[in-house]
Symmetry: D2
Subunit: 402 residues, 4 copies
């Protein structure tokens, strides 16, 4: 890879983070198999986070005056890839979803009061948060189609609704909730708003942690079904303006997809390394490593090509967002979302096949990612929706509206 996006500070920063990940984070991965995961969270991970702070690597995505590094999106993307090398990387550095998106949202749009109460402890890693948008009754992650409402009563919003896939709700201190504040607005993009809801509110009911791919999970690693039943929060908990929900969700998702995609590329590189390493070491017969098989070689080459292609596309998109804003890069953002998610799935699948029986066990991380990342082609909009967006924009140039 040419270093066209490798700024001076990244030249020193990336190797430091890389070393930290390999030395401090990777050894903890064996705990991922331990259940319940909550214990890991409470002890080893807290300790790990301390080390990150001590190494002055904490929350690299934050502005400098808020304790971060003030990286551009293109720069943070490259950091995100390095963190993605381990499933624990982003959490260790406090830039894990959904917290990172909530930080960005609060940073840009919340009142000082909300910032003090929620953003600061979130940035310092004292509390966790969640983002509550998807509803089981509606297909897709579409903020124009939902049934959850926030009705103004006195100085309060009264929220009623049913959400699921509210990731990390278990143990979170607050939720950022998308709800209809003006459901009848003829412009569907002006119907929703974004509101902060403390999870200790009696109207916030965590129904269950949804079992996903065989794991119910807990804490940060969970996905809740939540009911909002006459959930009252002060009007001051609104983020941005009323009716801006769709707009804010989009702004949150644009850079968020860069984070995701670069994290996926980090996974790809780790998986690629595992595939090559195993192929190089494991013998099929006396002196004949798996790497001597042409099929394995072809998979390695195709994976290398696809990972490189994915990285170039994402970094150019990040660069475009840095220069022109997320709105200008809308098509590119949709393009990388489906392209990278598919590369990820292919690379994982090939690495499993190379590992044979070992590949389906939990003795390696392959199974972890095989299970956890199948959702990559679905969440934040399934492949098919993003392809539609790309096609729609391309076809506009030819005078047809689809």
């Amino acid at each position: 890879m040419t270093g066209l996006f490798l700024t001076d500070r990244l030249k020193s920063l990336l190797p430091r983070i890389q070393e930290f990940i390999r030395k401090e984070v990777v050894p903890l991965e064996k705990l991922l198999a331990t259940k319940p995961f909550i214990d890991l969270e409470k002890e080893e991970l807290l300790h790990l986070r301390q080390k990150v702070k001590q190494a002055s690597l904490w929350a690299p995505h934050l502005p400098e005056h808020e304790g971060g590094m003030g990286l551009s999106l293109t720069e943070f993307g490259q950091v995100s890839e390095v963190l993605g090398y381990s499933p624990l990387g982003h959490y260790a550095f406090n830039c894990q979803a959904p917290d990172i998106g909530n930080m960005e949202l609060l940073h840009a749009y919340a009142s000082e009061e909300l910032k003090n109460k929620y953003l600061k402890p979130l940035q310092s890693g004292q509390i966790r948060s969640c983002f509550s948008m998807t509803e089981p009754e509606f297909a897709g992650s579409n903020p124009t189609r939902m049934a959850t409402t926030a009705t103004k009563e006195g100085g309060y919003y009264v929220i009623n609704g049913h959400k699921w896939f509210t990731s990390s709700a278990d143990g979170a201190d607050f939720a950022v909730v998308m709800a209809m504040t003006d459901a009848e607005n003829p412009n569907p993009y002006l119907r929703a708003s974004v509101i902060v809801v403390p999870t200790n509110n009696t109207g916030f009911q965590l129904v269950r942690n949804i079992s996903i791919m065989g794991e119910t999970g807990s804490g940060h690693h969970s996905h809740a079904e939540v009911r909002y039943e006459n959930c009252k929060v002060p009007i001051s908990h609104l983020i941005g303006k009323e009716g801006e929900g769709f707009k804010l969700a989009q702004e949150r998702l644009g850079p968020g997809r860069i984070h995701h995609c670069m994290r996926w590329i980090g996974i790809c590189e780790r998986v690629f390394e595992m595939m090559c390493s195993y192929a190089a070491q494991r013998e099929l017969a006396e002196g004949m490593p798996i790497a001597s098989k042409q099929m394995v070689q072809q998979w390695i080459a195709e994976s290398r090509a696809n990972i490189n292609a994915a990285r170039y596309m994402v970094l150019h998109t990040a660069y475009g967002i840095d220069k022109q804003g997320a709105a200008a890069m809308r098509v590119e953002i949709s393009t990388i979302k489906f392209f990278v998610a598919n590369v990820l799935q292919q690379v994982i699948d090939r690495a499993i096949q190379v590992h044979g029986a070992l590949g389906v066990t939990d003795d390696t991380l392959l199974s972890y990612w095989y299970r956890h990342e199948r959702a990559a082609r679905i969440y934040d909009g399934p492949d098919e929706v993003h392809k539609y967006v790309v096609a729609r924009e391309e076809l506009k140039k030819f005078g047809v509206k689809i």
Copy 2:
């Protein structure tokens, strides 16, 4: 599908089994999410098996004089598809792997003494068994390359070795073990033998149930790592003759692959039904079901085509085995192994994508099969090995040996 393979007795039998599966077995599937699964095994499943016996549907693969139905392989294949509709189907009817393969092996090659002691209670469902072949130190399921040895001492075999993926060892009463009895034989196909080892033997050590795709499992649903340490069993525990291990493994695997493949087709049909049903019911927007999307339609059509193709190939192969024996159908057996395993993976993947977020939860069976059946492309020989076998035989006709 044309009914070319639908014999008269199947015409009445298949609908009966089908009804039983839908009425008695499917409702128990919700227990699959319950952990530990061992409880299910002990109670509900025992009760279910009683019902199967009462309905005179027990162990349909057995000869009539042993309490079965005396079905041809082509007929049993079609039964296996119907059972495969539920993950509990084969177990309920006592034709689950690895027991069914062990029954066939003992039936054909064991002494009367071994039959009385092990086969009879296995056929009646009183005990379970396992098959111990694969070794962590050697790639592939290749009975010519292994380190486990069985040395004759006095009237005993003394077995030493290390195995893994010994499915269902947890709670089994005996293991059928593949071990080298003549490791120096110049003909590698004459080196191994197959021996019955009771699991209460002190030399049989179940190291762990291997965690696979996030589940350690237990009982029938587990895959053990096993060590044989000076494990002494009487010479009379040999199945067949000494040195016949490879031959017997092949005979066990031939029809075994028909069972697997038809079970996979049963899964395909269930998953296909789930995909169509969800696409038909779930609305994307007012009155527009997911089924209205052309991509979904294309997936449905391609899945239908591939499933049909898979079924025809497997049934013709079964028919060939019935008429000419497994040896004559060697290439066809390798062909269906990789062909059907890949159709299975594709159909599951498409169904998940159609289900969106729901597809990755454990609220449906899709996640169960996504995790459990990734191994289909690996166990009993990975795709690449079976393709090699097919190519080798085709290329022989052109005078080249690969």
Copy 3:
């Protein structure tokens, strides 16, 4: 392949045809490169057809009392595969499209007068014919959407319209034309009729032979653009009844797709043979044939699997048509259309890759089929339409109409 569809007469017939093809037809293939192809048609092919007649193999699809063999569709399908081994096979045996479809149509629905005038000389190979349905102004091969009209005036139909892809029109004696006789009929399936038009009619204007994939072609090997300008033919030239055009086209297409699909499988087998043979003979380095490369082996195995799958599906479909009629096998017919066409394209593509530079030259037949058979995924309905048909029927079972 198991011989389940190999009837007694096929057991002796197929090897005879196979030998004829290899001995008499294949040597003439070198003339395919010669241009214009018309010369070949006039001399060598006429001679070849004489040999076919002398060997009593002429027009095997015809009923016995009309000089054929009275084969079932399942039987003829297998003959068609053997003929498809050579691009000249079907022509040599007088069962080439579009003539074979026209023979079937005239045989089943034409008046005695039409039969005497057109069917008899067609069956004996004295004349050729064409089928004129597709229109450049309308997408698809949809007999409910066309602009060509046949207006009754006196005892005549006056036909006006614009057609293309009228295969083999150049040099044909008559065209079977699809035209609207009742364009306003509320039931679109009752609007069209099928009419015989002698090509020496002044109203029949062959605009051009369309250049396709680099070849304009001529004679039987051509695809014309045709204009019908006040083209008058006697009302007695109607085939079947007025308004039956759609129905007749469907009946013509059903078995026609079996013919095509089995011809494609014949091509697949030839191409597969070329791939294996070249891989076995051509050395990459001293003593290392191309066949030693694992990628080539995988392609051979996948091709074998796919060709076998294709053949089983087509023969079962043919068998179903023999037993229950084409209407009952509608979904299966659509399924094989897209399935086999895609297998064909893949097998050809792989064989070219195996042949390297030689594969793109006209020194082998690969380039011929690469060019001529790309249309297989388009004509008689593109893949996407057939997949839609399959999905529509499957989804009906789940209560949704797409």
Copy 4:
């Protein structure tokens, strides 16, 4: 696409070339269907080349002091894409293969005498040339394995050998020939040399123009089989030093692959435009354009993603060559070779499918590219060889040599 590689001079240059191509070159494409193509070459194209010179756009790849623009490879790559929009583009601007590669070779390594005699008229477009390397007896384009020899006798090389796929030999003034000058050298990379052979030499025998994909072609658009029979040329016709053949071929091929890949991307963009444009205009039914079909939309989106990925990879590779030389980018060069060639084939295939029957006719350029560019996955090393190279380098990092 972000404009990261768009230098200031390209900002004005690219739109000028783009306009020239659309206004002056595209209208001549209709002549591509005319045969023999030689006439076009002699008249319209000569006139077109005059216009290019008048517009000061001639031979943009040349250094400024030789009448070109002194573009970097990264810049010329972007020009090459724009030229690739038309099959006539590169020829019109005198940067067509194989002449451009020969120009680069002569420019860098030829003596002044050879430059005056061959390079100058080649650069001005007065003469054409060819490159004679591949041999029918040896698989691949491997300059270490060939039978053609150049034996020194007196002041001459006497060349004997058999070549094919000597593109554009018909009508060329000279050939650049790869021949063994030291066949027994233990280092196979030092065996061959590169020698200029005038085609009017009696030892240069053009056996035939090979018919490829249905076209024999002529002039620039041809691929000859050539025999060198006691072909004597002065020793001064050697390019570079004796034994440098392999090295020079590599240097010629490195940037050459950038040219090819960017030309392919130009084709991709044209084909993409045709696909979108046809999908937007062509109606399936009243008011429903083809573009309304989701499958078409998905193809458009996937094509856009793949073309963008391809372009980023190629430009980053070109940039790496500009900065570090071709040797340092060896893996990247192999990566783009197979990646882009496959994208090209896919995009063309989809566009044909969207065009339906029209797509296989010669009424559009799709058929031209479908036939002419299948070879892209073969020439200059087939996909499989380039994937091997990538895997070999990746696996080296893991300590295994394949």
